[in-house]
Amino acid sequence: MIETVATVQSNEEVSPGYRLLVLSFERQIEARAGQFAMLRPEGSFEPLLRRALAVYRQLGSNQLSFLYQVLGRGTETLARCVPSSKVEALIPLGNSWPVYPEAPVDGPAQTAGGQTDRAIVVAGGIGSASLLMLCEQLARQGVETEVLFGARDEATARGCGLEDFRALGVSLTITTDDGSLGERGFVTGPLERLLHEDVFSQATIYACGPWVMMSRVAEIAARSSVSCLVSLEAPMGCGFGVCVGCVVAVNTDGPPGYDSYKRVCIDGPIFSARTIEWNVNPMTHS
C-alpha cells in the first residue's frame, strides 16, 4: 500500500451516471483482481473522506482504470476531474479474489481431492467493477467461466462495463430488472439454473453487487454446497484498517467478542460467503 498522487488521463462518461476514470501513476502499481484504492481529487476540501473504488483494469504497468457510478458528493467531485488534474490515491488495498489452483482465501467448501475447475462470476450493477480483472485472470488460467451480468436496465448495463465483459469472449448471460436487455429479472434466476447442471458441482461462485443480491447468491450457494466468495461494500473512513468503521458481522461460534466484526477494508473486501452474517439490515447505501 502506498500513498501517491496520480494524474488523470481521461474521465469519460460511459453512460448517464457512470464514468471510466483512467489514472497514470509515477511508478508501477501491483494491483490484483478485487483490490481497491481510496481516491480523492488533489486539493479538494470537501467531501473530506476518500472514496473506495475497485481497480477495474490494468492498462499497462503505470496505468489503471476505475469504473464508477456517480452517486453522492464524493463521486460527484471525482466526476469533475479533468485530464491532467491530480488525484490522491492510497493503493492497492484489501485482499484479492483467490483464483485456483492458487491458495484459497480461507478454504472454500472443496470436496475431498476435488479441484474447482469452473467459475461462475455474478455481477450486480456496479459490482462489475471489481470483477473484470478476475475474469481476465480466470481466462488466462484456463478456468471455464460463466458470467452472469445483472443490471437495472440496458443503459445501466452499458454503464457497468457490459461491452468490456462481452469482449472477454466468455459465456455471458445478461439480466435486467425491466427486461430491456437479456433476460427480465435478477441474476439469481440463471444462477440457480446453472447449479442444477452437475458440471458446476465443483464450481466456485464469485459475486459482487448490492447486499441483497449477494445474500441471495450466498443462500443459493450454501443450498447447493458450492463455494462462494463475495466482495462487500461498506462506508469507509480510512481504507487501511484504523477507523474500525467499515465492519461486517461474521459468524463466530463463541459469544460476541472482539472478532464478531471484521473490517471490510483489511480483512476483505473479499470474504467467503459462509462466514458472513447475512440477516442484518443492509448497511450500504444501496
Binding site: R50, G237, F240
Partner: protein, 311 residues
Amino acid sequence: MQTPITHDPRLAVEIAGIRFNNPVMGASGTFGYGLEFAELIDLNRLGGFSTKGLSARPLAGNPPPRIVETHGGMLNAIGLQNVGARAFVEKKLPMLRRFDTVVVANVFGYSDDDYIEAIRILNDGEGIAAYELNISCPNVKEGGSVIGNSPVAAARLTEKAKLASSRPLIVKLSPNVTDVSLVARSIAEAGADSLSLINTIVGTSIDVNTRRPRLSYGTGGLSGPAIRPIAVRMVQEVAAAVNIPLIGIGGIASASDALEFIIAGATAVQIGTANYYDPTVTIKVIEGLSAYCDQHKLESISSLSGSLTLG
C-alpha cells in the same frame, strides 16, 4: 533499528516528565495501535500517539453502520471495539517498543472499577509512557450518565485512576458541557498530570428516506475540521483555568491548525480524523512547525504555548 533520524530540537516538548521529540501525536481511535501506520510514515519521527481505547476485556463494538460523513467532519459510533488491555500488552506493545515514539495508552470503562482494572493490566506493560483516560463514556452503574459531563464524577474517577496508575495520567475532556473549565479544574485538583481536549461532540444524521438515523447506535461523535473552532475555544478557556499542561485535539489537518491550539495554550496536539484522509498528515504538520520556527525565528515551539494576545 533504522538509521537514527535527526529531530528538530526546537520542537521538543515535555509533559509530566515525558519528553516528546515534537508536539505532534496521533489521536486515540484514529491511529489504531500505531503499527498500521508503519507502512505509511516513519513512526520514529512522530512525537507520539494515543492507542485505540483499551478496556479491561476485549469488546465487539457497535453493529454497523458505525460511521457517516458530514460537512467538514464525520460522525462515529464505533462502540470502542478493541483487543483489550491484556492483548495490547502481550501482542502490540512488544512491536511498538522498537520505535522511538511516545506511546500513550487510552483507557476507558463503563464504571470506575472497569477503568481501574484496565489500568492495573496496563501497569504490567513495558513501554507505555502515560495513560489517557477517556471519560466521555456512560457510567452504566450510574444510569449511563457520562462521567466527563460531571465535575464530581470526573474528579472521583481521576483520583482513583491516579492511585492505581504507575504512570503519569492524562484525562481527556468531553466537550459536551456548559463550562469545560469547571470540569477541567476539578480534574486537575484531583491529581491529573495533564488534560487532553476535546473528544467528539454528540451529533446525529438522519436518512430522510428511511427516517432512521444513519448510525445503528443512533447518535455518534462528531469530529474533523468542522469542530476545530469549538475545540480551540475550549483549549483557550481551560488554559485560563488550570496550570497543568494541555494537549489540544479537534479537527487539526495542517501545521497552521496545530499552531492555533498551541497559541491558545496547548503544549502538544493530537491529530485524529485527518489521518484517515491524509495518512501522512502528522509528518506534514511536524515539517510545517519547523518551517514556522524558521519563518518566525523561533527558538522553541513551547515558547509559543499560550502566547495568544487578546484585544
